[in-house]
Symmetry: C2
Subunit: 205 residues, 2 copies
DNA sequence: GCAATTTATGACACACACTGACAGATGACA
DNA sequence: TGTCATCTGTCAGTGTGTGTCATAAATTGC
């Protein structure tokens, strides 16, 4: 990796961290892009070259997580029931969060804290999730040998799996800024889901 | 209802219809508020007195639907299993859509068409749904005699119910602009959900 | 090392969404 | 009819986001 690329990555993380801190200090809405850019000595124009917009900063983790889940899902065998594959992929994602560097963990927790006390941002995060769901549904449909365009089941399976983690992240409230406890809550949610469905409900035919 | 109130309602619907048509003709992003306001002969400032923003026009139906579901849920007995109550409340909502006036139906279909071929708007719609979910979870928790802040189950039950209708609306694609077929798809989705869960999964304890 | 080429950045101008404040128009009601 | 509350347009201003161009820096080839 050349100097140029390393510099870019450093700038991206600097902007990300500065934005996160400012959002937590003085609120998301009241923080301007100019402030964020100013606090890391870049122009506002440059900010938009690293992030598509102010909210992209918040959704940055979502984009990363989607990649992780997609890769983890690819490691599950096609023969496994799809809902099981999804839950296991999500468990892998949570483990990767747990095993991250201290800096990554800090960012992750700040992110969660931000989403927790800002319903609008939480909404935007979920909105991004819709596109993720569609992509995952296509993959699940492929595994089941059916068509994602016409068959509802893959979409339903994915939507339920995503809803399960989301509830784990959101509830119970108020949440502690503790990674371990958060992982436990999500695991509790996943376990709850696992014993709620009829055997074979997620298989076509 | 006085003249003033009638005039306001007329203006609100005029703006709504004009915006919907413009969005469908030339796209959501490329349509400006000034255009919308201009096409119904009001100032842009007045537009913002009727709708909180450009996207509020799109979410107008969501706000209405939430009211319908909340009312329909209130009519279900507390003793009924919560997931059943929710699905039935959602069925009632769908029936109200079916029994609407031609104008209401037309708006509804335009709305759906707009959400169908614009993922960003679909996302915003789902984002609004998160707040709805929270409110419904509180009601479900009350019925089950548990605490929505600490117990995950009410949130899970609501999230699954909402995900079910959402999948019904979104899938299969491409969708016909036919109300009856849309109702059928949602009903198929609800029916699929009904036979996917273990008996009693949605009851606490 | 040194040019040639790509790429990141800043500076500027601009479109659009949205808000606050004020003045004038219009329904409500005695 | 006159007073009052409310609706509306105009105007000025803030903030987000984009296109464009010149400059500075890194990369590549010699």
């Amino acid at each position: 990796m050349g100097l140029r690329e390393r510099k870019k990555e450093k700038t991206r993380l600097a902007i990300l961290d500065a934005a996160l801190d400012l959002f937590l200090e003085q609120g998301y809405e009241t923080t301007t892009v100019e402030q964020i850019a100013g606090s890391v000595d870049v122009s506002a124009r440059t900010f938009f070259r690293y992030f598509t917009g102010k909210e992209h900063v918040v959704l940055w983790f979502h984009d990363n997580s989607e990649e992780l889940v997609t890769e983890a899902l690819a490691d599950r065998p096609d023969s496994e029931p799809p809902f099981t594959s999804l839950l296991e992929a999500l468990r892998t994602m949570m483990r990767l969060f747990r095993d991250g560097t201290p800096e990554e963990t800090e960012r992750f927790l700040k992110m969660q804290q931000l989403l927790e006390n800002n319903p609008v941002l939480a909404g935007k995060s979920v909105a991004r999730g819709v596109e993720t769901e569609r992509r995952l549904a296509v993959e699940i449909a492929r595994r089941q040998g059916c068509d994602a365009e016409t068959d509802q089941l893959p979409h339903l399976v994915v939507a339920y799996a995503m809803a399960t983690v989301r509830v784990g992240f959101e509830c119970p409230r108020p949440r502690e800024t503790d990674l371990a406890q958060m992982l436990e809550r999500v695991e509790a949610s996943l376990a709850l889901a696992e014993r709620s469905f009829q055997p074979g409900w997620d298989l076509v035919g």
